[in-house]
Symmetry: C2
Subunit: 491 residues, 2 copies
């Protein structure tokens, strides 16, 4: 799938709506759309934002070629004027986003688009697809890497990924979230995610004996050996043959840095037995890698049972985020500009209260405790609000306004950064390794209670008083006083 084709990677309704905006005088209507999500996968306490690089690449290459136009013409519902407009299409709007690798929370804008209605509408599908996918995998990788408590986690899932992009971009997202490398060669070539890998069972089967397969591999790659020891019988055959090959080939060269990989059986029991056999053979430098249906829960359990494992190869449960493979990002209209350029907030109500959105063009301030450096809360504000750090700040729960708290010693950081201005890229993308480091550093600002796998403490995403009142007024105007001010206005 070439980049030149991605303009059509949109839901068909984006095009019917665009054509409609174009034909009904809304062509130049300036709109504001937010990307936000409603719940953290696996009921976790935080998500990791990723996918911005893909979004930038998409927008920069967003063109309709002659073939695309012909295809649309064939549908018989799009006006020729509109098709000519598509032929000239370039994104001309503004876009703000949270940096990749940022821990993020439900109901705050991860990305905001300001553009004429047809342009902003077109972006919806691809922006969501890229952000939902990469944030999903980065979030899962962060959980799995934390379960490994500093041991290396390698992303091994390409073969179970949902297509080519899922494999390659998934490996990138997993790296941002905390993996040390990937099996996916292309993710290394395109993004610099370190790729590695040594042998499959087929290598072992291809030789007359397991020992011969191991010995040959040690001779070929003495400085990077991980022998897969479960093709026939791990403890009776695999580990003894690995020890023999290491002794025959590596030790005479003075090489003690090597590894074995377990891919079946009980990993806690077998790893302890294998560790004892390796140590007894003097191979204390030999590491033990494990793969086979691993995720954060199994890794934590294995380590708590004394498994002797140094490296985790995590496949399908990471690359598909198996336990909850959906990141719930949505793209919603939050404001328009009137003829005078004034911003008019918009709301969508819905019968499910959870689907109600935060209107208006907004900023996010993350508030940190000045002493500990820990993140205390995020506050959503109107685009022109600032937070003064030299006087106390009272924040309150937007659903339960009687819950409030006054902060005194704090610093703030604005999360949304300008990415496009009038269609031009103004954002300098950090190198991937820097994104990964930033993610780790930001994660360290969250309390452990927020990072618990089960029943984490909820991180507060509050509204400024001005924003809260606008939202409340819109709910009332739309006849949903039941959802507005369930309690008194916050003070």
């Amino acid at each position: 799938m070439d980049k030149s084709h991605l303009a059509l990677l949109c839901d068909y309704y984006e095009l019917t709506m665009m054509n409609g905006y174009y034909l009904t005088g809304l062509r130049d209507q300036i709109t504001y759309f937010d990307v936000f999500f409603r719940s953290v996968p696996d009921r976790g306490g935080y998500a990791i934002f990723a996918g911005l690089a893909e979004v930038i690449d998409y927008i920069q290459n967003l063109r309709f070629d002659a073939e695309d136009i012909d295809f649309l013409r064939g549908k018989g519902i799009f006006s020729e004027d509109f098709l000519r407009y598509l032929q000239q299409f370039r994104f001309s709007g503004d876009l703000w986003a949270v940096p990749e690798g940022t821990p993020v929370f439900p109901n705050e804008p991860l990305l905001t688009v300001r553009a004429p209605a047809p342009e902003a509408q077109l972006l919806e599908t691809y922006l969501l697809l890229a952000i939902n996918h990469q944030s999903l995998i980065a979030t899962k990788a962060s959980r799995i890497a934390r379960a490994a408590q500093g041991r290396a986690v390698l992303e091994f899932g390409a073969r179970r990924a949902h297509g080519a992009h899922a494999a390659v971009d998934g490996a990138r997202a997993a790296f941002i979230g905390g993996c040390q490398g990937t099996s996916c060669t292309l993710s290394d070539a395109l993004y610099g995610v370190p790729a590695g890998g040594t042998m499959a069972h087929s290598w072992v089967q291809m030789f007359e004996s397991e020992y011969e397969a191991f010995r040959t591999y040690c001779e070929l790659y003495p400085n990077n050996v991980t022998l897969l020891v479960d093709t026939y019988d791990t403890l009776k055959s695999g580990v003894p043959n690995a020890i023999r090959a290491f002794r025959d080939v590596l030790l005479p060269q003075g090489i003690t840095d090597c590894a074995i990989r377990l891919d079946s059986g009980d990993l806690a029991f077998i790893s302890r037995e294998a560790r004892a056999m390796l140590d007894a053979a003097g191979l204390t430098g030999c590491k033990i890698a494990a793969s086979n249906a691993l995720d954060e829960w199994l890794i934590r359990d294995l380590l708590s049972q004394g498994a002797c494992l140094d490296i985790f190869g995590v496949g399908e449960r990471l690359i598909t985020a198996r336990s909850e493979p959906v990141f719930s990002g949505v793209y919603k209209l939050v404001a328009i500009e009137d003829a005078a350029g004034r911003i008019q907030p918009k709301i969508k109500i819905s019968d499910n209260e959870v689907k109600i959105l935060n209107p208006h063009f907004k900023k996010i301030f993350r508030i940190y405790d000045r002493d500990s450096g820990k993140a205390l809360a995020d506050q959503l504000c109107l685009h022109d609000e600032e937070i003064a750090t030299d006087r106390p700040l009272t924040i309150f729960d937007p659903q339960a306004t009687w819950k409030h708290k006054t902060l005194r010693h704090f610093t703030v950081r604005e999360l949304l950064q300008p990415v496009f201005r009038s269609g031009g890229l103004v954002y300098e993308q950090p190198p991937l390794a820097q994104i990964r480091d930033y993610c780790a550093a930001q994660l360290a600002t969250l309390w452990e209670e927020t990072k618990r796998f089960k029943n984490p403490h909820r991180y507060y995403v509050d509204l400024s008083q001005r924003l809260w009142r606008i939202r409340d007024d819109l709910l009332r105007q739309n006849g949903r006083a039941d959802m507005a001010r369930q309690v008194s206005e916050p003070k």
Copy 2:
């Protein structure tokens, strides 16, 4: 991601093994690899095979360009001879596969590759990725389409798909499995999956009133209207405004074919109320579409509660196969050829019995009852075996050999078809609509008991006596008599 780059979309160990085969005299070793899977997602009774078109496309475009070679050279572990070999790389082998849309079962080969070791090894990652992804989605779509009992199911999940390929190829797979269309425009442009869609909430929000938004849409697209009625209040505002717009714009033109879409709230209750309101307004031809976290279970429940729904838009739970997002296809060496061209079966044992494979170069015969046309069992045979249909056939359970059955009135069909011969494509790919029809027809040959969502009856995949004995002998030779002949040899 351009097609020219996909050669590097492989696990890194494919390349270290290829280089090893190349350097150690195994360069021309003819190997046989099978793709098979171990369990049906969602504990279902059958899976739908898909992804072959993507495999064919991949193999036909499989080249390493200068940039790829430079990248690999930079790794410092690949020999220059091997890199020259990669520069000239073309797939020269044979490949057989089950046609797309075929219902398939665990432990039978869906695809077999016969090629020199390095070539066969390289294909592993991409073949698995394509087949695992598309078979996963086709299988899920088949379940969901069956739950809808003939009502239309539309694939709406692009925004929650795991990247661009997942959206576009997922829509194709969903169509094969039984969906009627997709929201994904590019899947229509590339594959001809019918794309459709009308409006999002943003359309409704963009106008001064809900009625105006509806009326404008009806005026623009009178022949294809589906109004989204839950932006403010479905029953108090959305449905009445839709009725008014239909009456004001469509009915005067004699158009009665229209629809509303519910996207929140209780779909059973709201759809019944909406149906009554539409009928009372004389809009009996107006269909009701539903979306919002649908899957086979919820659709079945809604219909059993008398929901008045005609069309289901299914998003994230289909495009990610949310309840079980992993298809467990693997790629395993099953045989090699010796110097004289004789096929030598290979086996892999493993400590998990479920991971033991069926060795040798094989065929699959699907056996149908001559009278009912129903599929009775699949039999895996050696590549040179035939099944005579003019005499009784005794089949037996390969794990429980005392369970056997003699068939008398049956026909057989061989499932694996030649796709590549000596690197050349010999398979004529059917048009997509024909694959979909074939899938539906083949599904009709399975007993309802096998298609039950929960605890389905197991479909038998048996081994021919010759194949069973070869497998049994290999298990004994590898010292795993415990896994061999747990009972007497089948008669």
